[in-house]
């Protein structure tokens, strides 16, 4: 903890801590409520979904659901605000969408992948953005698949390795650029350091790069606008922020990178209420709060006269160590600015409040 005189910087205050009896892999706020979901794997090899409600200074268990396979990730991104169905990916490669009021039978289920689904993202739901709600899953079998909950069994897009190519694990996926009904991109990060940007409108690869370290987490600052910034975090404590407004034919997107700590940066999450502030969570149990500052000119002309982007700069607003184990999941509440939940491998879920974000 940094002792700050005057407390001008945002403070990360631990509001509630809850010990769990299972390993938590993902935690998410239920939109438009003070409730949160924890997803994980119990010691006996089954999957657990727990629903908590925040009451004052404690978390109360509202519901506990057990499923046959451990659950790795989940999202509310593709459901409507009224339904609030949870889409989960489990260790067996199954994608399921659950109605939490009636969780015995999934609303949608498909065995999407041959191996564990490492990451899932949803777009088009919650009244944000336009276009069809879609879910993307990235798996250890090297494929990234986009699903439409109205279409059974087959994905609407499938990004798979060429025949005969050896596969690399896909560790993270994210939607972006969904500013109208047709446009959508999917960004995927792999364990060999590849980041690939797929355009779903033209069904082609739009950009790829390699950041020399396995990519743990990618996120656009906003899914529902013309793509603005992309943050990719990796092993070895590094992360890169790409300016996605200007793409150069050969050089791709401009980026700035920062080495925050010696350990893996597991997650990055942008503050829903301010797209220039994001938090990264690390393998040493620490959280760093960053602010991105745009450069004076976001694009400039290179020697041949074509436009290329200019990356801005990063400043560290606050840094706090909460746990000795990696903090593997992080989620900001879309309703209350500064409220966030994080789950760590010490089987604890913590609700945190980040103060003074209004003054940034």
């Amino acid at each position: 903890m940094s002792a700050v005189l005057g407390l001008e910087r945002p403070q990360v205050v631990s509001h509630v801590q809850q010990a769990l009896s299972y390993t938590v892999f993902d935690c998410k706020w239920v939109p438009r409520s003070a409730r949160l979901m924890c997803l994980g794997s119990a010691a006996r090899g089954t999957g657990i979904i727990q629903l908590y409600e925040l009451h004052g200074a404690r978390l109360e268990v509202l519901r506990e659901i057990e499923k046959p396979k451990p659950i790795k990730c989940g999202t509310f991104g593709a459901t409507s605000l009224q339904q609030r169905y949870l889409a989960t990916g489990d260790f067996d490669g199954n994608l399921n969408i659950w109605n939490l009021e009636a969780p015995e039978i999934p609303v949608y289920s498909v065995k999407g992948h041959k191996e564990i689904i490492n990451s899932i993202d949803g777009v088009g739901g919650l009244g944000i953005g336009e276009g069809a709600p879609e879910i993307v899953t990235g798996s250890r079998d090297g494929t990234v698949k986009v699903w439409d909950p109205r279409q059974k069994d087959t994905p609407v897009a499938n990004m798979e390795p060429v025949q005969g190519e050896s596969k690399r694990d896909c560790w993270t996926v994210a939607f972006g650029n969904a500013y109208n009904q047709e446009e959508r991109v999917v960004c995927a990060g792999y364990d060999n350091g590849d980041i690939k940007l797929f355009d779903l409108k033209t069904m082609s690869l739009r950009w790829e790069t390699n950041i020399k370290n396995g990519v743990c987490s990618v996120e656009f600052d906003r899914k529902d606008i013309n793509m603005n910034k992309l943050v990719a975090t990796s092993l070895e404590g590094k992360f890169h922020v790409f300016d996605m407004r200007t793409q150069h034919q050969t050089k791709g997107f401009a980026s700035v990178s920062e080495k925050a700590q010696k350990s893996t940066i597991w997650q990055v999450r942008h503050l829903p209420q301010n797209r220039d502030i994001f938090m990264t969570s690390g393998g040493s149990g620490s959280l760093h709060l960053w602010k991105y500052e745009y450069p004076a000119q976001r694009s400039k002309k290179d020697s041949e006269g074509s436009e290329m982007g200019v990356a801005g700069s990063l400043s560290l607003l606050q840094n706090v160590t909460l746990s000795t184990q990696p903090i593997s999941s992080l989620d900001w509440s879309p309703d209350k600015k500064g409220l966030c939940v994080c789950g760590a491998f010490d089987q604890t879920v913590r609700v945190l409040i980040v103060t003074k974000l209004n003054k940034i």
Partner: protein, 424 residues
């Protein structure tokens, strides 16, 4: 022999004795003065002054002032009385000695005690200082904790407020929606059209009206709004696949920058191990480093072939084969050289060896197998063994049916065979 200082002058009051001792040019410091309860000595080599005092004095409070060429002693008496003289009159040598020794001992004792006392006070001071700093730090920490606590409470209150707002908002909206429902049940169709028109305007405005009508509704309302929504959403995308190529990586583990050096070393070592499988050590000592690498030799052979130096190419391939006889490409290329050199039997041998090494037949070595068959076929034809040649050409065609050149050549051979058969 010390020089005794005898010109001293003294006077006394009831409680004190004042002694003045001229120094005769010598410089005095505190170290030269030795004083105990009843004995006083000043020793500035070579000068010496000593006095066994008439009565005991309080030596801790007594002072000595050094200056102006003399020492001025102010000795406070233990018992107020008037002394007859400064020193004890009848002091014999033994007594004097005794007194001196006692004096020394006394002073030593006093010194010891003083140092002890100093130590103790020092320790106590340290303790006190430490406690004081600890208190200060404690206070500081507490202040920060309090500030944080206040923030926490403030935020908790805000959270509770917000939660309640949500609940109220829900209730309010459900009441509103129910009212709307009652109104809607009559001009149902009109409303539907109206809403449709409203929602055709793109943007957040539409999503809000959508929300408003669906929030907190019962089942009956939801079907109505569900239809609306489905009409607005675009159809599911047409399914498509995007083929992906990955940055090549030999290891199945994730890429880490810190491990790259180790991995490169490992790969290098593996390559080294692969290089020399068959080697005759005595001959190889003469060769240069590059010439021991079959890959390098193969490249050299290829270059020589391209330039027309077929014999040189054969030599290169020979050496390469000696180093590693499991590379089919070496035999394949050597067969091509032999063809050019019209060593047809050798060409056939080499192509056969290449084909042997190119098992199992998989798509990856298609190219190589086609070439091997074609070369062998050519060799056979040049030896006028047309049937065997045709067999090879047909095998090549089987692997690569789209190759026009092979087809043409196969046709030619067929014609030739038919021609010879006809003529014979």
């Amino acid at each position: 022999m010390p020089v005794w200082l005898r010109e001293h002058s003294w006077r006394q009051s009831l409680t004190a004795v004042y002694l003045s001792l001229p120094l005769r040019g010598a410089r005095a410091t505190a170290a030269n003065i030795f004083c105990s309860e009843q004995y006083l000595k000043v020793s500035i080599p070579p000068f010496l002054f000593e006095a066994v005092l008439y009565a005991p004095i309080d030596d801790t409070n007594s002072t000595a002032k050094i200056g102006n060429g003399n020492i001025f002693f102010t000795l406070y008496k233990k018992e107020p009385a008037i002394w007859d003289s400064l020193t004890l009159a009848n002091a014999d040598k033994e007594k004097l000695q005794h007194l001196r020794e006692n004096a020394i001992l006394e002073v030593q004792e006093k010194a010891k005690e003083e140092t002890k006392a100093k130590k103790i006070t020092k320790q106590e001071n340290k303790k006190y200082a430490l406690e004081a700093t600890m208190k200060l730090e404690e206070a500081e920490r507490k202040r920060i904790e309090d500030l944080k606590e206040k923030e926490r409470q403030k935020v908790t209150k805000e959270l509770e407020l917000w939660k309640n707002q949500q609940k109220d908002g829900d209730k309010y909206k459900s009441i509103q929606a129910k009212e709307e429902l009652h109104q809607e049940k009559e001009p149902l169709k009109e409303r539907k059209n109206e809403k449709l028109n409203k929602t055709r305007i793109p943007n957040e405005g539409s999503s809000k009206t959508r929300l408003k009508s669906t929030r907190g509704c019962g089942g009956s309302c939801s079907i109505f709004s569900q239809d609306l929504k489905e009409e607005q959403l675009p159809a599911p995308r047409a399914a498509a696949t995007i083929k992906v190529n990955f940055t090549p990586r030999v290891f199945p583990t994730a890429l880490r920058e810190s491990r790259v050096a180790e991995e490169e070393e490992w790969l290098h070592k593996q390559a080294e191990a692969r290089r020399i499988i068959n080697s005759d050590l005595s001959e190889l000592e003469d060769l240069k480093e590059e010439e021991k690498n079959p890959d390098w030799l193969k490249d050299k052979g290829n270059k020589m072939f391209a330039m027309g130096d077929y014999l040189g190419a054969v030599n290169a391939y020979n050496l390469a084969v000696r180093l590693n006889n499991k590379l089919p490409l070496l035999y394949l290329n050597r067969a091509a050289c032999h063809l050019k050199l019209r060593n047809l039997h050798k060409a056939i041998e080499d192509s056969s060896k290449a084909l042997e090494l190119l098992t199992p037949p998989v798509p990856d070595n298609e190219n190589a197998r086609v070439k091997a068959h074609v070369r062998r076929g050519t060799a056979f034809c040049q030896l006028e063994l047309y049937t065997e040649g045709l067999q090879d050409y047909e095998a090549a065609l089987k692997i690569d049916p789209k190759n026009k050149i092979i087809e043409k050549d196969a046709e030619k051979i067929r014609q030739l065979i038919q021609g010879t058969m006809q003529s014979s």
